[in-house]
């Protein structure tokens, strides 16, 4: 039997100290992913530090008028938070589009960010996988890859990041506060996850022992509308085939602010900077939106069976931007 030790941290500092003091330690949030991976043999930590009870379970106003979301806030609670729903519908919608009600009741904000890919080969220890065992090869590239990445993948890994919430955070210019052995720092949510390159085993830019404390979302842009839209195989409890988070402000027919991020397309939430460059300052119409989507998706390199993701993501983006522009025009 694989044994491990377990402790409940009382403070973030204590948690980080505990991590430093143990070999192969892992932080445990809601356990909806880590525990699964332990059962699968993908993760075999020797020491678990339960951080779900840390005093990080509040959604608070920031001095700038944004929201600071503690890492232990449950997905259901964050999705239902009236202030978040009012200021950032995209975030609430993204959370509600993810997982199932039962999972959202348990999953935490920090854990959601740090969940691992659901690539079937990553989860199957009997097959090669560079993310799980660097250097063994990628089974997905030449195998079942319908759900895999079309953007930013490498010869070493074609996995996608599964989170919906993280896509919304990337579009909202959120900041991730982390505490590590070397102290606190803040990482932009859009840069928190990384591309696989030749080190696909590293999902994020977190350094060893760093613990997510909170996610801060800046106040909404004036006049901006935001929303999330996801395409999936069944109506609930299915990961995104493709999804899009968008924030759009339009004044007198011209886009004044745009933030766009795709989910289900890459190893990380895909902040669409090229699309945003096309959008800002352009006329808010379907032609612009299509041009913007194409500017981003032109870089797509589908693998064969996932070619459908490119037109799907384009359609999602154009549709969502059009909806937001209409709402913005109507002041709705």
């Amino acid at each position: 039997m694989k044994t491990f030790t377990f402790e409940r941290a009382a403070t973030p500092d204590q948690a980080v100290d505990a991590f430093t003091a143990h070999e192969r330690a892992r932080y445990l949030g809601g356990g909806t992913n880590l525990v699964d991976l332990m059962k699968l043999g993908v993760e075999s930590p020797e020491h678990l530090i339960d951080v779900s009870g840390l005093p990080l379970d509040e959604v608070e106003r920031t001095p700038e008028g944004g929201w600071r979301v503690g890492a232990a806030v449950r997905n259901s609670d964050l999705a239902a938070h009236p202030g978040v729903r009012h200021d950032h519908p995209v975030l609430s919608q993204a959370l509600l589009a993810g997982a199932s009600g039962q999972l959202r009741n348990v999953a935490t904000t920090g854990g959601n960010l740090l969940q691992r890919t659901r690539c079937p080969y990553f989860q199957d220890t009997s097959t090669p996988c560079n993310k799980r065992e660097p250097g063994t090869g990628c089974s997905a590239r030449g195998g079942a890859h319908r759900d895999m990445a079309v953007l930013g993948h490498s010869p070493h890994c074609v996995a996608t990041h599964p989170s919906d919430m993280a896509v919304a955070l990337a579009a909202l210019d959120a900041q991730v506060e982390v505490l590590g052995p070397e102290g606190r720092r803040t990482v932009p949510a859009a840069d928190f996850h990384r591309l696989p390159g030749d080190t696909p085993q590293q999902d994020t830019v977190l350094r060893p022992g760093e613990l997510v404390l909170a996610v801060s979302v800046p106040p909404p842009h004036e006049g901006a509308r935001s929303a999330y839209r996801k395409a999936r195989d069944r109506a609930s409890y299915a990961f995104a085939l493709a999804s899009v988070a968008a924030v759009l402000a339009v004044r007198e027919g011209t886009v004044t602010h745009a933030a766009l991020a795709f989910g289900g397309l890459a190893h990380r939430p895909w902040r669409a900077r090229a699309a945003e460059e096309v959008l800002v300052g352009s006329a808010a119409n379907a032609h612009t939106f299509a041009r913007a989507a194409d500017a981003e998706l032109g870089a797509a390199r589908p693998l064969g069976d996932n070619e459908f993701k490119v037109p799907l993501a384009r359609s999602l983006a154009v549709n969502l931007l059009t909806t937001l522009a209409d709402r913005s025009e109507q002041g709705a």
Partner: protein, 756 residues
């Protein structure tokens, strides 16, 4: 015959106060007006309508009444009685195979092969056995020897062959389940890999025509001159439909607990038939059946995957003998796809030829599928085309190739479910070709003799199902033109498909005893896999005995009870019910206190009729033009399945089948990775069974059908017909919504594509 959609609960009143909780029943999940009948629960004997259901005609008068129908007038039969074991299940008191823990019980964990084909060259369990709590590692080198059975999937740990990825090559046994798993993972195995082939292709050089397909149906059939009739037909459809492998995935994984005592083997097994499992164990272990007891008292679903004995019970029994302790084995969910069967993929070419008036002249149905190298299983998907519609000529057949894949087997309505999808999709294409209403096209091809055999149907109310379904669904207001109904991003369409399932029945025995306190004890080794069989059989007994339902005690799910066939092929209630009915009748006739019945001669002496249940599905779907997502917004079906014996559990069966058909149409699919040789979708997060959100409005109705050529209980079997044809109705609705015909299931966004 009466249209039945609101069970009249007055019939429960003769069951005494025990039934007072059964106060609400309906057949609509959404229509409050249709489900508002609340039964009285006065506890007094029923006096209503006991003599109104004695008709023996097969007439087709449809009563449009929606309330107060007279089903269930014979005692408690037909009444929506709730499950006898419901409270025990809710309280966690009903024990499943893994919930028996005999004293000294230890645990097993299997080791699946990680190569797609080859042989085991070495097996090193030294590290594994060094783990504290490790008891044994069974391999082909040390496991008890078995007698080779007909079903090769049970011949486990007997040789070094690896016929497919996931085949069990070892079994770890330890004091705890966790240790057993660690032991299993510490076994070091070397393989000699051989080239493997898991790709199903129509032009595979080793493709052959099987003599028989599943169910003993002929592999190939030809009637008339198909080529000539098809070539001469003024209107033709020639289209190919494909289905991926599909998995049963019952909620309860396959599990067994086994122990030996004084040469007697007892096994608690999650199976659809304890008698069948006992027979298999007797063969494998070369024992007399009287030396074996198999218990399957409560089973959490099977959908065919527990219809044939599965490796868990053999492995548990082997391990228990080896370590001389009781052994419990629960198969991991991720391993089920490789070892408990699946629906084989099919590539089906349909060719229909018709006259201008829609009457079929030629029906061609060519099925290509695979089996494994372990045993031949041929999904008999051409079967529906031999039953459904008349034609001048027909050619129906199967071709199969043995690949290095896990062995396919029964999954709810094997043959009928995939076959009806192809036939009823092609019928829809023909209706479009002819510019004829699809309901009308089916009515014009209705027949009262089975096309392939010329035998008369014992009863066939397909036309009534189609008409009644069309009326309820609002079909006749339909604009046949595709892609005409758009609201925002959504295109809406409606579709129809017929359904049918053969009436199967097998010999069974049963006993009944009249006890001195005025109650009765019925014994029959039936299995309740969640269907309500236990409850329905008690109703049959009470009805036959003229006794209150509460006075009937029934024992099922144990091979020490009078032997009985398995729960499969929608045959359980007919088979067991017949024996229960006969035993009870003989008890009454004899005036004694005990009676035992055997229906072997009755079953063999049946008149030569074609017996099938029929039905019609109506679906409304919405296709999202932005994403290609397809969701069912309404699903309504009407069935003619003989006499309905319990309105509550019947509705549950019908709707369960329909939801499974919805999954087949829209969400469920599985892929074998050509490189690894294994299934990719191996958990319930990636194998997409429909979620509640996928099933917004679903409704099952039935026509009360009196068929004098069935068993004395009068039921045709209802476990499978719900899934048959559902996928076609949904796919046809998608065509109507979008104007694009998709012929590959499931209809996921990658296949449907962006529509705007």
């Amino acid at each position: 015959m009466a249209v039945h959609d609101t069970p009249d609960n007055s019939r429960t009143t003769d069951t005494g106060s025990a039934m007072s909780a059964d106060s609400v029943a309906g057949t609509s999940s959404t229509g409050a007006a249709e489900s508002a009948t609340t039964g009285n629960a006065t506890g007094k004997s029923a006096t209503t309508g006991n003599t109104t259901r004695k008709s023996t005609t097969t007439g087709s008068t449809v009563m449009a009444s929606t309330t107060g129908s007279d089903s269930g007038a014979d005692g408690s039969l037909g009444a929506p009685v709730s499950r006898r074991e419901g409270a025990a299940k809710t309280a966690g008191e009903a024990r499943y195979a893994a919930e028996y823990t005999p004293e000294g019980c230890v645990y097993a964990w299997p080791v699946p092969a990680t190569v797609p084909r080859g042989r085991v060259t070495s097996m090193d369990a030294s590290d594994a056995l060094a783990l504290p709590g490790a008891l044994a590692v069974l391999t082909h080198e040390n496991a008890p020897r078995l007698t080779e059975p007909d079903d090769g999937i049970l011949y486990v740990l007997q040789n070094d062959r690896v016929p497919h990825r996931g085949w069990y090559v070892a079994l770890a046994v330890a004091e705890t389940q966790e240790t057993a798993r660690a032991v299993a993972e510490a076994v070091r195995i070397s393989y000699e890999e051989e080239p493997h082939d898991v790709r199903l292709m129509t032009d595979h050089p080793e493709m052959y025509h099987p003599e028989k397909a599943n169910g003993g149906v002929p592999g190939d059939r030809e009637r008339g001159d198909f080529d000539r009739e098809f070539a001469a037909a003024p209107h033709r459809v020639d289209a190919t439909y494909t289905l991926t492998p599909l998995h049963n995935h019952p909620m309860e994984p396959h599990a067994a607990t086994a122990f030996w005592r004084d040469g007697h083997l007892t096994a608690y097994d999650s199976s659809q038939g304890a008698t069948t499992v006992r027979e298999a164990l007797a063969t494998l272990f070369a024992m007399g059946e009287e030396q074996i007891t198999v218990v399957s008292e409560h089973v959490g679903g099977g959908f065919g995957s527990k219809g044939t004995p599965r490796p868990q019970v053999v492995l548990a029994a082997m391990a228990a003998r080896h370590v001389e302790r009781p052994v419990k084995l629960v198969l991991p969910r991720r391993e089920l796809p490789a070892v408990v069967g699946h629906r084989a993929p099919t590539i089906q070419r349909m060719r229909l030829g018709a006259r201008a008036d829609g009457v079929l002249t030629a029906v061609g149905h060519d099925v290509v599928t695979y089996t494994s190298t372990v045993k031949e299983f041929v999904e008999q998907a051409a079967s529906p085309s031999r039953v459904m519609y008349g034609s001048d000529a027909s050619r129906t057949g199967h071709r199969v190739v043995a690949l290095d894949v896990p062995t396919p087997s029964w999954m709810r309505a094997p043959g009928e479910a995939p076959g009806m999808y192809a036939l009823e999709s092609a019928m829809d294409e023909l209706a479009v070709e002819l510019d004829l209403d699809p309901v009308e096209l089916r009515l014009r091809n209705d027949t009262q003799t089975e096309p392939d055999t010329g035998r008369p149907f014992s009863s066939r109310h397909l036309a009534d199902c189609l008409r009644e379904g069309a009326r309820r669904f609002g079909w006749y207001e339909r604009d046949p033109r595709p892609r005409m109904r758009r609201e925002g991003d959504l295109l809406t369409g409606t579709g129809v498909a017929s359904s049918a399932y053969p009436v199967l029945v097998a010999p069974s025995t049963a006993s009944v005893e009249a006890l001195s306190d005025g109650t009765f004890h019925v014994r029959v080794n039936a299995t309740d896999i969640g269907t309500g069989a236990r409850t329905v059989l008690a109703q049959v007994a009470a009805d036959t005995l003229g006794a209150p339902l509460a006075s009937v005690r029934i024992d099922i799910g144990d091979s020490d009870l009078p032997r009985a066939p398995l729960a499969g092929g929608s045959s359980g209630t007919a088979s067991w019910g017949w024996a229960v009915h006969k035993a009870c009748s003989e008890l009454l006739a004899s005036g004694g206190t005990k009676a035992t019945a055997d229906t072997t001669e009755d079953v063999q002496g049946q008149q030569d009729y074609a017996r099938h249940a029929f039905g019609a599905h109506f679906a409304e779907v919405q296709a999202d033009t932005v994403t290609g997502e397809v969701r069912v917004s309404r699903l309504l079906s009407v069935f003619a399945a003989g006499r309905i014996l319990n309105a509550r559990t019947a509705r549950s069966q019908f709707i369960g089948g329909m939801v499974m058909g919805l999954g087949m149409a829209l969400t469920e699919h599985s892929v074998i990775d050509p490189a690894t040789g294994g299934f990719v979708e191996r958990d319930l997060a990636s194998y997409h069974v429909p979620a509640c959100a996928d099933v917004p409005d679903i409704d099952a109705h039935w026509i009360e059908e009196d068929d004098p050529h069935l068993n004395p209980v009068g039921g045709k079997g209802i476990g499978e017909i719900g899934i048959v044809g559902t996928a076609a109705a949904i796919a046809n609705a998608l065509y109507h919504a979008t104007g694009v015909r998709h012929r590959d299931l499931p209809l996921t966004p990658d296949r449907v594509g962006v529509l705007s």
